[in-house]
Amino acid sequence: MPLLEHFDLIEAIILSVIAASTPLLLAASGELVVERSGVLNLGVEGMMIMGAACGFAGAYMSGSTLVGALCGILAGAGMAAIFGILTLGLAVNQVATGLALTILGVGLSGLIGAGFVGTKIVPAAQLHLPYLTDIPFIGRILFGEDAFVYFSVALVIAIWMFLYRSRAGLVLRAVGDNHASAHALGYPVLRIRMLAVLFGGACAGLGGAFLPLAYTPFFIPGMTAGRGWIALALVVFSSWRPGRLVAGAYLFGAVSILQLHTQAFGLGIPSQLMSSLPYLATVIVLVLISRTRGTAGSAAPASLGQVFVPDR
């Protein structure tokens, strides 16, 4: 039956889009919180790749995906701590520190992961609910994913609730929009930012750990392949809003999968054009939302990337 075959193909594509989008969503939702607190951490790629290397190392030695994920989270948060100490403690330029973090992360992960290249682990288990997972087409998509996928969705919802429905979230946004006023009101600007930076690092580390723990069950040096930079682009693309971030992450994931298929379909579009579309789209979105700054369209934190040294 040709119709059923098509369904199988579409199901496979959707499953691979979800898998491709999940690390982006995890890393980008952490960075969204960081940027909402007014800090620009360009080291997402470095934190992700460290999460991937340490996550794989942890899972390989313990035989447990959970331990691996925790190692990835710790590695990402550890990298973020270096960033936080420098940019918040020593008031160092955030752009330069973030880039240094990426360079360091790529190097360190190569050293850590070198001993694990060529080894395999058991990939993260996928959910299986009797009856529900067996529903044709939507069963596997909705009820047959691994824990990372469900966690990433829960994480974004939690972040949305935190930012818009909690007092702490309001304070975090205030710190990101005007650190001088927040400081004058008595909020510990640097401590709040440090917590946000650590949270962002943990998310990036988890997003990185997803790659060797669930996406492919082995570690390759440099396996994040620029996903950290895409996550950064996504935060801007989403104009710092969790809802749009989900849409953006799945859009970016879909484009990255579809460009693999366009060649198979022979549409005559160069795959490189497809691959560069998300980046071009980000530039265009950035231009559009910046034009309407001050109106409802933009949510760019006003203190983003600025150094803050409290005076007493």
Binding site: G89, L90, A91, I103, V283, V309
Partner: protein, 363 residues
């Protein structure tokens, strides 16, 4: 107890001189510790990385070849960073410069058209890099879009664009299906300085760029404008300096230099265009710019030093059997220390016994 930063009444002149030296010393100590952990003799490692490359004329030339693009790009970036303008897309501008210059080399390949080809390629490379850099500058000036993010996004677009060209229309038909253009003609290649050596005329061009930038920053009104806009934007506004024009200008200059570095690299040591031409030189140049304290002379030294670690790292890969990643770890740690030490020029760290007690005493 709490550690707090406190702005110094004026920049500390002593630390300003000592800070890069302290940073390098701390890095080497950290580095030695890293090697000790990896079970290698730290002293041997330091010798292999920092001394051995200096003892051989061949590796000395390699250091100059490696430093040439790094210094050229970093000088342009420093102009931006001094003015608090953040071009972090030099990687993309480097690639676009390489592609624009290569266009002429590919078109004239195999035809003996004359000696104007190479100068024209260099002009095209610089022009391409400058125009590509102007995209984020225009997005910032006319639309208010953050140049950090747009310049970074355009790196990927440039990468994919080049990838398309070398896999598609520009691919060498005799290239055994490798994604590369045909090797450039001698008329489209940068001449080397010594017979049989690898060091090329690009190094001379870089030295000229360093000198011009020193004059621009130290001796011209435009250089003064760049420094004032960076150090005191409000004062710059009151004195009638046009910050928007400066964004366009510094982006154009840094893009032109990155593009020039790109075409020199392709027409020089590499000799053809392929997807690996850049190997992240545009990002590494950011480290060089900061390591050189955003000062053209300092950048020259920093570029040579970083080139030394690259070449030393290649040597260590063979003689110490350590992965190339060690070099990246070294560069990352070095940049951290440099940035942290530089912070102490402007701030000092004070230990507060108790914040509450101080607040009490004040009230």
């Amino acid at each position: 107890m709490q550690l707090v930063l406190e702005r110094r009444p004026e920049r500390s002149a002593v630390i300003a001189i000592a800070s890069p030296l302290i940073a390098v010393a701390l890095t080497i100590v950290t580095f030695a510790a890293l090697f000790a952990i990896m079970g290698k003799d730290p002293l041997v490692a330091i010798y292999v990385y920092f001394i051995e490359p200096l003892t051989d004329p061949f590796t000395l030339q390699e250091i100059a070849v490696k430093a040439t693009p790094l210094v050229m790009i970093a000088v342009g970036l420093a102009l931006c960073y001094i003015a608090n303008i953040w071009n972090i897309g030099a990687e993309g501008q480097f690639i676009v410069g390489a592609v624009c210059g290569s266009w002429l080399a590919v078109r004239t390949n195999g035809t003996d058209v004359g000696h104007w080809v190479l100068p024209a390629m260099l002009v095209l490379g610089a022009l391409g890099g400058a125009l590509y850099a102007l995209i984020p500058a225009i997005c910032r000036v006319y639309f208010g879009a953050s140049e950090i993010l747009t310049s970074l996004m355009l790196v990927y677009v440039a990468n994919y664009g080049m990838d398309y060209l070398v896999r598609g229309p520009w691919r060498d038909p005799q290239g055994l299906n490798f994604p590369t253009t045909a090797a450039f003609d001698p008329a489209a290649s940068i001449p080397t300085l010594f017979e049989g050596g690898r060091m090329h005329v690009g190094s001379i061009i870089t030295l000229i760029v360093v000198m011009l930038a020193t004059v621009l920053l130290g001796r011209t009104i435009r250089g003064f404008e760049i420094r004032v806009v960076g150090a005191a934007p409000r004062a710059a506004r009151f004195s009638g300096f046009n910050a928007d024009r400066l964004v366009l200008l510094t982006f154009a200059i840094s893009g032109a230099l990155a593009g020039l570095a790109g075409i020199i690299e392709v027409a020089g040591p590499i000799g053809h265009l392929d997807p690996g031409v850049s190997s992240n030189l545009g990002f590494t140049a950011i480290i060089v710019a900061f390591l050189g304290r955003l000062n053209p002379g300092g950048i020259l030294i920093a570029g040579l030093f970083l080139a030394l670690t690259f070449i030393g790292g290649e040597g260590a890969q063979i003689s110490l059997k350590v992965p190339l990643d060690v070099t990246k770890v070294f560069q990352g740690i070095l940049l951290f220390y440099v940035l942290a030490c530089d912070s102490l020029i402007v701030y000092r760290i004070r230990l507060l016994r108790s914040v509450r007690k101080v607040a009490h005493a004040a009230s």
